[in-house]
């Protein structure tokens, strides 16, 4: 048995880097320090059957194929497509995304990531108004006021509070939780709200109004209404006072803002509130990026194409127009004639109308396990798990890049995402 320390968890955007993995031959005995979800991901190596050989669906049945045949057939589908969508990327490495972008450019396809169904609106808002942000380390050492708005880290980022925001002792917060105040704004009294010092229950879809009311007070205006978004005036004034009078504040926000009516305009308003607060004190804001390396996907996309997600190469150059070139829009307009999915499961996580089109077109999936997307795929190429069976670069939610560790060998014959994608690209280039 061997213990590998400082392993980076490959589940959520917190990228906890203190995991101790105990390996016994080809099994993982335990993943110390990991949360329930992270632990499940490491131990899945022992429990979920791993497909080794690619599967090709023909004449109503699946058959095993060689890796060479699967790669050649995938390359043929992509090369012959007029408008292919390359989707996923959040559970793989930046190195794999880089090759994916090359494929999209080569075939004149569209490339989009899970950003489009999590913090796409955040990215759009950042393009309007910027992002006064910090690293998680600074928050740990300095923050005395922590706000989670439309985010429930007790479920989605279980160690976020204990590693960075509330519980840890920091350089300037020696008593940890006692030196900090936690405020939760949400439509439900979530498990995170239950441990907060203050909970503010906002009416569904009214976050924009509440943010505007706070901005008005922070900018010296007077609130005339007795209640905004279901929150009494005095509670809003109290919240604004707490924000203006803290030493170092941080506003974390999640899907409660990005997926609710207003979407990117909610985020625009939240960022603008934080900018206004900086006239009074030091305040920062950070999106709670969920899917593991979704931040890295955006970074690689930006440095290679100039745009963070939803890029269309069909005109021979990169075009970006969310709402037109984003995955769900092109699927629901039924424009796409082939799909490559890497490290993602859109059949489980896209709306019905988008999945209906995924079911109609040839789909190639590269992933470590069977999933609902592989159920509907014409070609399924099994790959190794980045962060467990493969090294690679991933970005934490605060855009800090970390190089992930390999703790165990992949099953014999199973290639990495990078290698599979490189071979598909090579084959496409041979065909053109």
């Amino acid at each position: 048995m061997a213990t590998i320390t400082d392993v980076i968890c490959p589940f959520c955007g917190t990228l906890c880097d203190d995991i101790e993995v105990v390996v016994n031959g080809s099994k993982i005995e335990s993943a110390r320090h990991a949360c329930k979800i992270g632990n499940s991901k490491f131990l899945s190596i022992n429990d979920i059957p791993r497909p080794i050989k690619p599967l090709i669906r023909e004449n109503g049945a699946s058959r095993e194929a060689s890796i060479d045949e699967a790669i050649a057939k995938a390359a043929e589908i992509l090369s012959n497509s007029k408008r292919a969508l390359l989707f996923g990327w959040s559970s793989t490495s930046c190195e794999a995304t880089a090759v994916g972008i090359e494929i999209a450019e080569e075939i004149g396809g569209l490339i989009d990531g899970t950003t489009t169904v999590c913090h796409g609106p955040t990215v759009m808002a950042v393009q309007y108004v910027g992002l006064p942000s910090v690293t998680l380390g600074e928050i740990k050492n300095r923050a005395d006021l922590v706000i989670y708005w439309g985010a429930n880290p007790m479920h989605a980022h279980p160690r976020h509070l204990s590693r960075y925001s509330i519980f840890p002792r920091g350089y300037f917060r020696e008593r940890g939780q006692q030196d900090r105040e936690l405020i939760v704004v949400d439509v439900r009294k979530t498990d995170t709200a239950k441990i907060a010092n203050h909970f503010i229950q906002v009416e569904f879809g009214k976050d924009y109004e509440l943010l505007s009311a706070l901005r008005m007070i922070v900018n010296g205006g007077e609130l005339e209404e007795e209640e905004v978004a279901g929150v009494p005036k005095e509670k809003i004034i109290e919240l604004a006072d707490k924000m203006m009078n803290c030493q170092f504040g941080i506003l974390f926000f999640g899907m409660g803002l990005t997926m609710s009516p207003g979407k990117h305009r909610n985020i625009d308003n939240a960022i603008s509130l934080v900018k206004n607060l900086n006239r009074h004190t030091k305040f920062s804001i950070m999106p709670m990026r969920g899917h593991w390396n979704v931040t890295g996907f955006g970074e690689v996309m930006t440095w290679q194409t100039g745009y963070p997600f939803a890029v269309d190469f069909s005109r021979g150059y990169a075009r970006y127009n969310p709402g037109e070139t984003s995955a769900n829009d092109v699927l629901q307009r039924e424009e796409v004639d082939a799909v490559l999915v890497v490290a993602s499961d859109p059949v489980a996580h896209f709306p019905r109308k988008s999945v209906a089109h995924l079911a109609r077109v040839p789909m190639i999936t590269i992933a470590p396990h069977h999933s609902l997307t592989t159920e509907l795929s014409e070609i399924f190429i099994p790959s190794s798990m980045v962060g467990i069976e493969e090294e690679g670069t991933a970005y934490r939610m605060d855009t800090v890049p970390l190089f992930t560790r390999k703790v165990i060998d992949p099953p014999q014959g199973v290639l990495s995402d990078v290698e599979i994608l490189k071979r598909i690209l090579e084959k496409i280039r041979e065909m053109r």
């Binding site: 589940f11 109503g60 429930n152 996580h349 019905r352 988008s354």
Partner: protein
């Protein structure tokens, strides 16, 4: 008897853990995700108890789920379904030109459905989408 509600979807600890540990074909995943978390007051109005089967319908479709008493109440008039194929079968089409579907705030109707059957993820995908061959 049915109830008009707003549907919100999202991550839960059990959804994440069951998906990662045993996969979406597992019974644990179905038990964690094919649930409709309701405010106790709404459950009383409908006369449903924890574990009863309810039908949730939107303009996009309908699914059968197990009713679950919300541990994150109060949120009367709002139901929560963990992210996954059941919730997404109910999410409306369109993104209002943002690229982001309306995963939260979908208008929905809930009603008791003692005769309904809760499908597992694979059965659900097969029933709704079939195969492409």
């Amino acid at each position: 008897m049915s109830l008009e509600v707003k549907l919100i979807t999202g991550r839960t600890l059990h959804q994440g853990a069951s998906m990662e540990r045993l996969g979406k074909e597992s019974e644990e995943y179905t038990k964690s995700v094919a649930v409709c978390e309701m405010d106790p007051a709404d459950m009383e109005k409908l006369g449903v108890k924890e574990g009863d089967i309810v039908k949730v319908a939107t303009d996009s479709g309908e699914v059968f789920l197990w009713a679950a008493k919300s541990r994150q109440a109060p949120h009367e008039g709002t139901i929560f379904i963990p992210m996954g194929p059941w919730a997404n079968a109910l999410v409306d089409a369109g993104t209002n030109s943002t690229g982001m579907p309306d995963f939260k705030g979908v208008k929905a109707r809930v009603e008791p459905a003692p005769e309904g059957k809760v499908l597992n993820a694979v059965e659900l995908v097969r029933e709704i989408y079939g195969y492409n061959y």
